[in-house]
């Protein structure tokens, strides 16, 4: 683990420097994928994108098919229910994240790759509780205040 205080290790013979690299950014979803974010906020609807050539349904939505480079212009509603395909139980609250990140969940909880009904790809979200197994059906718990972000779904819970 990186412990800034530990540098330099040997203060007598070993010099060095501590620093903080700040990387501010703003990421534009683009007009097409913004529709999916806005649907989360305004309609509590999960929109995936469907490749016009191979029919693959991407959730999270993508505007290009990674297999055949087709431009995707169609958004379709998927879920809201889905199946836990892969998961891990989180047993540790990282103090840095708990302090700096919004809407963190207190451990223990489960992180899962969920395949929503109608989608061909899995997407990452948290599932309430730890009693989860492969193949469990889950449904979203929507946040009351939504901001067009994936956290508009607070978590998934067993259905």
């Amino acid at each position: 683990m990186f412990i800034p205080e530990k540098l330099p290790v040997d203060k007598k013979y070993c010099g060095g420097k501590r620093g903080l690299m700040s990387i501010p950014y703003r990421y534009y979803a683009g007009l097409f994928l913004s529709k999916a974010l806005i649907a989360l906020r305004d309609e509590k609807k999960i929109l995936a994108s469907r490749c016009p050539r191979c029919g693959k349904v991407f959730m999270p939505p993508r505007s290009r098919c990674e297999r055949d480079f087709a431009k995707i212009t169609e958004l379709i509603s998927v879920g809201p229910g889905g199946v836990v395909e892969e998961f891990t139980v989180v047993n540790y609250d990282e103090p840095y994240f708990m302090e700096k990140c919004e809407k963190m969940m207190k451990a223990p909880f489960t992180m899962a790759l969920i395949k929503l009904d109608g989608a061909d790809t899995k997407f990452l979200h948290r599932v309430k509780g730890t009693d989860i197994k492969h193949g469990d059906r889950v449904a979203p718990k929507w946040a009351d205040e939504r901001s067009a972000a994936i956290t508009d779904i607070e978590w998934f819970e067993k259905a």
Binding site: K17, M21, S22, R26, Y28, R62, S63, R64
Partner: protein, 388 residues
């Protein structure tokens, strides 16, 4: 340069370069350029063997953009290479693609340079090129007045007039290029009245921050024969690096532009670049540097390029056209900036530069990249196959 086999430019694609592209995300921006190069070369993506992909490190705050862009460049199942050499990234992409084809490794290689500068804070990337122990806190990138001071000390007021005139020429050219970012209608007075950044460097002398992407397709001679687009041939390229630390006042200890030009001219039998080379797309981060560098690339030790600027010799219809595209001072999506130089040079040879086409046949074109602590990558392209 000894090559195993000849390499042709089989297609060129560019986005429109703009200050704002909130309508697309990073991958969508890149795919616009890829779509255009596929249309231009009339090649199917499945025929492409490898993708060389590059931008500035940390500029958008994305760690592995080449991974993100598999959806944007059709890279699934193909060889992928990521290249990031700072300002020269675009020209290094071209060098790498050229080597990959010339070596016999691949027959069709796609090179893509891009930057979406509105998304990140370029200072984050730029400051981290300097050593944290000695000078990181004061590192600022390319805004320096040193070259201007040296030129004014040497050549007087005339140099300042010429730097401004060169900026006006770039604006005149950019207005003919609908893909250019800044298409300004400015006069010499506007330039000289603009805000001082670091005297005598003024705001209008300096390049903008743009969003855009540029893609080029490189083909082996055998493959190129089967492709329908007009070919442009890769004749030669040179990369000259300098030391790690900055010393802008003593550039003569290793004049990287001059050294690169000397090697290219010597290897390719160029004794009179102005006569033999039809167009030069030069990486001009500021008009002061452009004014100085023209002298370095053309071996003009007494500032003859200053009079040439004031005579209009570098105009599209002049003696030695420079940056008919409008140059870097008009368009600067950094990871794409240098590859745009090569792409524009190729379009000029093909005669496909539309409104900013140089009005005469071009057999040889030169394209330069600049970056780091004065690094140069120089490419020579030709209408005819090189004689190796």
């Amino acid at each position: 340069m000894k090559k195993t086999r000849n390499v042709a430019i089989a297609g060129v694609g560019q986005t429109k370069h703009r200050g704002h592209r909130e309508d697309v995300n990073l991958a969508e921006l890149v795919s616009e350029a890829v779509e255009e190069v596929l249309a231009d070369s009339m090649v199917d993506l499945s025929d492409i063997d490898a993708i060389v992909h590059g931008n500035m490190e940390l500029f958008e705050g994305v760690h592995q953009p080449d991974m993100w862009h598999v959806i944007a460049d059709g890279g699934y199942g193909k060889a992928g290479y990521r290249i990031t050499t700072g300002g020269t990234t675009g020209t290094t992409l071209v060098s790498a693609a050229d080597h990959l084809v010339a070596s016999g490794m691949h027959d069709l290689v796609l090179a893509i340079g891009f930057e979406k500068q509105e998304e990140g804070m370029t200072t984050t990337g730029i400051t981290n090129m300097s050593c944290p122990l000695w000078d990181r806190e004061v590192q600022t990138g390319a805004i320096t007045g040193t070259t201007g001071v040296i030129m004014m000390n040497k050549f007087g007021q005339k140099a300042e007039e010429a730097a401004a005139e060169l900026r006006v020429l770039m604006a005149t050219n950019a207005r003919k290029n609908f893909k250019a970012h800044l298409r300004l209608d400015i006069t010499r007075k506007d330039v000289l009245d603009s805000r001082v950044l670091a005297w005598p460097l003024r705001l209008l002398h300096m390049c903008p921050e743009s969003n855009g992407a540029c893609a080029m397709l490189f083909a082996s001679e055998e493959m190129a024969k089967k492709l329908p687009q007009k070919k442009v041939w890769m004749h030669d390229h040179v990369t000259i690096h300098r030391q790690e630390f900055f010393d802008f006042a003593h550039l003569e200890d290793l004049n990287t532009h001059g050294e690169a030009a000397r090697i290219i001219y010597t290897r390719n039998g160029i004794v009179n670049p102005i006569k033999q080379i039809g167009v030069f797309e030069m990486y001009d981060p500021s008009s002061w540097w452009a004014l100085d560098w023209l002298g370095k690339f053309l071996f003009m030790e007494n500032g003859e390029q200053i009079d040439m600027v004031l005579n209009g010799d570098f105009a599209i219809d002049g003696k030695f056209p420079v940056n008919p595209s409008g140059g870097v001072v008009s368009t600067n999506p950094i990871g794409a900036t240098a590859i745009i130089r090569v792409a524009e040079a190729a379009l000029q040879i093909r005669g496909d530069a539309d409104d900013h086409q140089v009005p005469r046949d071009i057999n040889l074109a030169l394209a330069s990249g600049f970056g780091g602590t004065f690094w140069t990558v120089l490419h020579l392209l030709g209408k005819d196959k090189p004689n190796h």
